[in-house]
Amino acid sequence: MSVITRILDKNVVKQLPKRAAAYYSNKPNIEEDIGEFRVLYLKTSKAQAFTKKKYQKPEVLPPRSNEMPVDQNWGNVWPGPRTFHPATVPLPLRQGYVSKGSPPDKYANAELMKIPNFLHLTPPVIERQCAALKKFCTPWPKALSNDELCEKHFPFEVISSNYCHSSPSIRDPMARIVTIKFKLNDLKFDEKSRDKYLRLVGDRYNSETGYVTIVTDRCPTQKQNYDYAMYLVTALYHESWNVEAWEELKTEADMEKYIWENNESKKSVEKLFGKNSEDIAESKQYANAVINFMNEGESDYTLANYGDSVRILLGLPAKTNVL
Amino acid sequence: MALVKTLANLKSVQILTNKLAALSVVQQNGMSMYPPYYINPIFKKDAQVELFENGEAQKLAHIPTKAALIDQTCSIYYDDDIRLFRNYIMRSGRKSLARELLDKAFEKVKRSQLEKFHKAKTEEDKNKIVLDPREVFHMAVDNCKPVLFLTPIKRGGVKYQVPVPITEKKSQFLSMKWLIEAATDKERTVHFPEKLAYELIDASNNTGRVVKRKQDLHRQCEANRAYAHYRWS
């Protein structure tokens, strides 16, 4: 107990006067209550003469969103695409990540302005626009119920794009491009003309789908490009039926296909048996195997096929399947 | 052996995980791409079986493992020592060349052992010949391992060569290094695999240059044994 009293004595009792002084000094000063005493300045100083005018911030109006009724027509407030504006959007949005504290709000938040927004394409707005457009649409012809029918009656597919947007010019350079698509089989060809057509068309023909695609974009307007495409289609068709004099000079090396009759293979078989190939019983299937082998390229399958036919031709026993 | 290693891993893991939170920006494991608490993979099948039997695997369930290296597999032909040896042979990262050389050396070992095998008259002699080149390799490395080595220590301005015991790891390294050095020290006409095969067979029979080198080292140690108490680290 004595320890405590000693400590108390040391810390508290000795400091009591100080504390008391501090206590009373906190009391309100009586003189101050009367008011400020005017001072008479006899000598004007420079500092006194010039008082800096305080900068007044221009008054900022409260955001427009405060006045908005909650059942307003939003499509009228935000009719078209536009960068985000905090005062117009009545949502307490926030964006950004800070490690401590809350994310920054929408005012002066550049991040919100950077990202795209769909404020002009809210569901009710889209609905309204669709409804407005509807009266300009005609019903789909009933006869063209499926894709096959469409393709049958309209084998020619013309694809072009029109653009409508709010740039200074109403023309878009992309609008001039015209693409024409049709199936090659819809054109009537014989073997030779078809071959020539394919050579003329080049990589515009897709052998997997059977479509020819012609893209024209060299003229300045869509109309011109369309006309040019039509011209191309016609010209290509008729040109492929033409036969030029030099086309007769085609040799074996220029052939795109292997034709057994024209080749060394036939000669050697004839020489081997000493008679015409028509007289050799097995020559037919041998010829087929060689043609296959040559046209489809070398693979284990075609080669084995070739081997088998040679065995039959030469009268050798078929390949024994060991195992 | 593998188990001892895994246990060592485990310990280090515990220590590392404890330290993990204290880690701030600087990683403590050098330039490694893996965080320090990753453990080395245990990919040998028998090592894993042991791991699961003694329940250590349970503790590993929460610790991520590093990816197995490109020359580590669980194949029956995988051997840690041989992998090490191959990497010692390797120069400037040409691992496939190193592998080719070592495989050729093993082939040579096998051929010459087989030749001896076919020449041997009695069954007893035949049984004595080790035909597995990998076994030959292990025998050779074991036979070349020194038990002591000399380290220079300065005392009173004079350098003394003091015999010092050697750790298992360093002894193995020296043994492999000597084998490779012996194989590189050759004429131009002889190829590395041939020479290496020759050295391996010699060393496995406890003869040859490398074993002699080891014995020479031991001899020197014996001569300097009086300085043995000079050692301090």
């Binding site: 050697s268 080669l303 084995a304 050798l316 390949k319 060991v322 | 050729k104 030749e115 080149p133």
Partner: protein, 379 residues
């Protein structure tokens, strides 16, 4: 939900003695005691047969077995070949050949290291056994890409001789056909004038031609050419049955060679003297013979090794030269062949038995015989 559970296998470890037992029980089937190829049938497929030492010396003393396998035979202390499907197939066909008809050409093809040369060796062994005169070229690439020496031909201006190789081949031919060449009927059908003083008379024994080529190396190439022609004529006359076996036949059609003229211009294979002879004997315009050829990527330069298929390797010219031929595929080991091979290796102590070894090795090698041999070498 399909879940393949593999539990017990993860820990599969067998003690050594049990391993040894496993190996001992299901062996023995990988060998056949039948060492005559003519008796080999599909029941012997995937089995090894031993070539007797004397026959080996006669047939393959100067090549015929690839170098890597040759080393292997030394380590194994015996020469064994596996009876495989392609060679069986060819032997089977040869058995049924009507020799009066034009020559049949068999072309062995397959990926690198799939065993084409060894299949050819098997067929050659068969040829020896059935008393064929064997016209065996161990490796055309040796002539076209690694020839020992070349010089402009004197007898055929514009051509290039590879005399040392040709002489070597003549020696090879002589040893291989020692049994047939003793036949007195084999006589030359025309005069060969080598120089003013040297000539070989019509009606001389064919051995004289060979001997001349060996002793006068300068004329070796022309001798080879002459020999081919003579053999063709003799076969036509029915004096002998011939088997033409050429390894790396596409070398004769691969345009890039390492044979040069004296002006260091590259020589196409058609301008190398020996080529003509071998092209002649692979035509179908003769009879009493059979051709077995192999086409191999390795006979062409590295940058042209794009496919192992015969038409690619032979080119248009080569294909038309051979057409119609019988392609025979040499594939990778089947499972049965693979196990048999591994059994053989184990029996020869080439690999030490270990559990799970076969599966692992078959995966690593892709069942390719040469790759398997390479991988096993280091184990």
């Amino acid at each position: 939900m399909l879940k393949v559970v593999s539990k017990e296998v993860l820990g599969a470890r067998l003690p050594k003695n049990i391993r040894a037992l496993c190996v001992a029980t299901h062996s023995q089937k990988f060998r056949t005691s039948e060492d005559k190829p003519s008796y080999h049938s599909s029941s012997n497929s995937a089995q090894y047969y031993k070539i007797p030492q004397d026959i080996r010396n006669q047939l393959f003393a100067h090549g015929g077995i690839p170098k890597s396998y040759n080393i292997q035979t030394k380590s194994f202390a015996e020469t064994c070949l596996m009876v495989r499907e392609p060679s069986l197939d060819i032997i089977n066909c040869i058995k049924s050949i009507d020799y009066s008809k034009p020559v049949n050409r068999f072309v062995l093809y397959g990926k690198k290291g799939s065993g084409k040369s060894l299949a050819l060796a098997h067929v050659v062994h068969y040829g020896l056994e059935t008393g064929h005169l064997i016209l065996h070229v161990p490796w055309v690439g040796q002539w076209m890409r690694y020839c020992k020496e070349y010089s402009n031909s004197e007898l055929k201006p514009g051509n290039v001789d590879i005399n040392l190789d040709a002489a070597n081949w003549l020696v090879h031919f002589k040893t291989q056909n020692a049994h047939v060449l003793s036949n007195a009927d084999l006589v030359i059908g025309q005069d060969y004038v080598w120089s003013k003083r040297e000539k070989t008379q019509k009606g001389a024994h064919i051995l004289e031609l060979i001997e001349h080529g060996i002793s006068r190396v300068k004329y070796a190439s022309s001798c080879v050419l002459g020999l081919c022609m003579e053999i063709k004529e003799l076969s036509k006359k029915g004096k002998c049955k011939t088997m033409v076996a050429i390894d790396g036949y596409n070398g004769f059609f691969y345009p890039k060679t390492r044979v040069y003229t004296e002006k260091k211009e590259m020589v196409p294979p058609s301008k190398v003297t020996v080529t003509e002879g071998f092209l002649e004997v692979t035509k179908f315009d003769w009879n009493n013979a059979v051709c077995v050829l192999t086409v191999d990527e390795i006979a062409s330069a590295k940058e042209d090794q794009l496919s192992h298929m015969p038409k690619y390797l032979l080119g248009k010219e080569g294909f038309e030269h051979l057409d119609p031929f019988i392609p025979v595929a040499v594939n990778e080991y089947t499972d049965k062949e693979f196990t048999s091979c591994m059994e053989y290796y184990r029996e020869r102590k080439w690999v030490q038995p270990a559990p799970g070894q076969d599966e692992e090795l078959s995966f690593l090698s892709g069942s390719n015989p040469y790759k398997l041999m390479q991988i096993c070498a280091g184990l």
